[in-house]
Symmetry: none
């Protein structure tokens, strides 16, 4: 498979992401993908054998992008810890609200049916990575006096479970931007020294 077909494979992955975003995992058929890509049935099978294979490749390309972006945005800057945490949460908010190419539902659906060993579960990796980033930011903030926190890892976990809760709520009940802000703010305020808070 040369450069050309690598391009086409990427093209299919991009289109497929849109389809999975709209329909979840199990609702998607190879025909849906074929229609979205405007290629022939047989053509699709040259690149992917079934929706699972396709979905997992969509996910892994997605994950790569996410991790990179998140880590870059959160850690490589020279801004203050508070600013960086705010930036991180802004990214999370964007993700929670994202309509297009949002794989949250499909991912939850897939992994709830196809449980992975804890070790290999990419959802776990993503979650743990995020927790570690937040924890680090809080610790930095505590060091330079921006934050007050006795249990940074507990707080980081609390924050990320809230984010998970907001994600699934966004996809099932629906949620407003303001409500997200309010929830994230609630957690942040717990970190800010008392006098500044009032």
């Amino acid at each position: 498979m040369g450069e050309k077909s690598a391009k086409k494979k990427q093209y299919i992955l991009d289109k497929a992401r849109g389809v999975f975003s709209e329909k979840g995992f199990k609702n998607v058929t190879m025909k849906d993908i074929v229609d979205a890509c405007e290629i022939s049935r047989g053509g699709l099978y040259l690149y992917f054998s079934n929706t699972e294979e396709l979905f997992l490749e969509v996910l892994s390309s997605e994950a790569r992008e996410d991790d990179d972006e998140a880590i870059d945005a959160a850690l490589s800057g020279d801004a203050s810890a508070g600013d960086m945490l705010a930036l991180f949460l802004k990214e999370q908010k964007k993700e929670i609200l994202r309509k297009k190419n949002n794989l949250t539902v499909a991912t939850y659906e897939y992994y709830s049916v196809n449980k992975q060993t804890t070790k290999n579960n990419p959802l776990k990796l993503q979650f743990d990575t995020a927790v570690r980033i937040v924890e680090k930011l809080i610790e930095n903030g505590v060091e330079n006096g921006e934050f007050v926190c006795e249990n940074p890892v507990g707080c980081a976990r609390n924050l990320m479970y809230v984010v998970e809760g907001l994600k699934i709520t966004s996809k099932t009940i629906g949620i407003s931007e303001e409500a997200i802000d309010r929830e994230l703010m609630y957690v942040l305020e717990g970190l800010v020294p008392f006098e500044l808070n009032s």
Copy 2:
């Protein structure tokens, strides 16, 4: 429909709950239900026209029970606010860990594809009910000095989003009982007056 067929309908709903619990929503076929109920294909159609109708009835019977249980357990007692909140959280934990007849995944799957108007969304009703209960309990606790909390509704919401996060995590990544305890404890500790906490 006489009393006899009402009984049979309930029988089907009970069996169907087990199936949706195991397989999610979209993965369930009418044949799965028929097999679980050990009735005929045609027989099932006398009571339900398709899996969606069946699922929604399963859900609404579920919701009724849940609400009743939760409210009874949380509010009708004469225990202290702290004990009642602990009881409420114990119920939530049981729900998060429940293997049998757990409709979490099927429900998320269904409502993420079939978005409801905010008003009629039973998930929203359930969530809001829970928040109100927790809020009430916190307020009671603050009044009698058990808790310290400046923003009871914010804290209640935070708690319930964490619970949502734990639910979905339990179903996709998997989670240990200890991890659930730790998260719920983290929130509770924020409510306990400082001196008692150390």
Copy 3:
């Protein structure tokens, strides 16, 4: 599956035999069967899951009939050994020449691809049964002076291999009734005492 569906199953087997007879094994699709039976695709799958299952059932019903007929025709009579052998060969000739519902080719094709353990191979059973019948007839003939033969089992085997050769020749090259008679006669003449032969 009640009596009614047993009838339908038999109906399908009958039609399928015709199809396998015309097209061999691998050339037959479920659609061919469906068309021949004038039933729906789904309907066929209620009875048989694939062409192999269908073919094997056709074969085993076939075999039962054959064995019974052959054994009855060859051994239960009170005619002379010569007459009975002649009868047996007439049956073989009929089989070799049969156009309709002749599974020779399909069977050869199937078993050449799906080799069976020698023990379970129905072709072997059929062949061995035939050899034993012929051997018995020859021995009877020798006893009452109709035949002369020093090696009845060798002669019986020779005869049945010739029959096999004639069967496959009939299906691939084509063969006339006279040619079959000539071959079978050639073997029979070896059994008849010299003086009668001229």
Copy 4:
């Protein structure tokens, strides 16, 4: 088509023979051939338009070799008739038992579905050639007193039908080398003068 492409065509035919030998006729796809030859899909079509054309060319090249070999081996020697017949039968036995590049099954399969006019049927040509060879050998043997036979052509035909029977048996039921020897011996013994036989 230059010399170079003639070579490649022969290369494809050789590889294809192996494939038809393993899989029969209908089971072989153009992809099987392409893979065996390690050439491109399009490349194959430059030489052969479909599996049938390819198979027929494989067959005709096969036939040519066979005939030549057989005739050379059987008639051009200066050995005794008995030795030459033994040699011929040894060749037949080798063919019956041959695993690699054995087209028996594919050939039977092809010609049983695609009946040829008797005149052009290469199977018939092969069979008739073999009969004539055996007949000639027997006649020679009778002349010089090695054999006793009143009906050489009948005996030759009987022998070749047995060989056909052994071939198909070998491919469907399976047969041991000893069983083949026994059958061929049975026929040969009928040719040997009585006193020598005992």
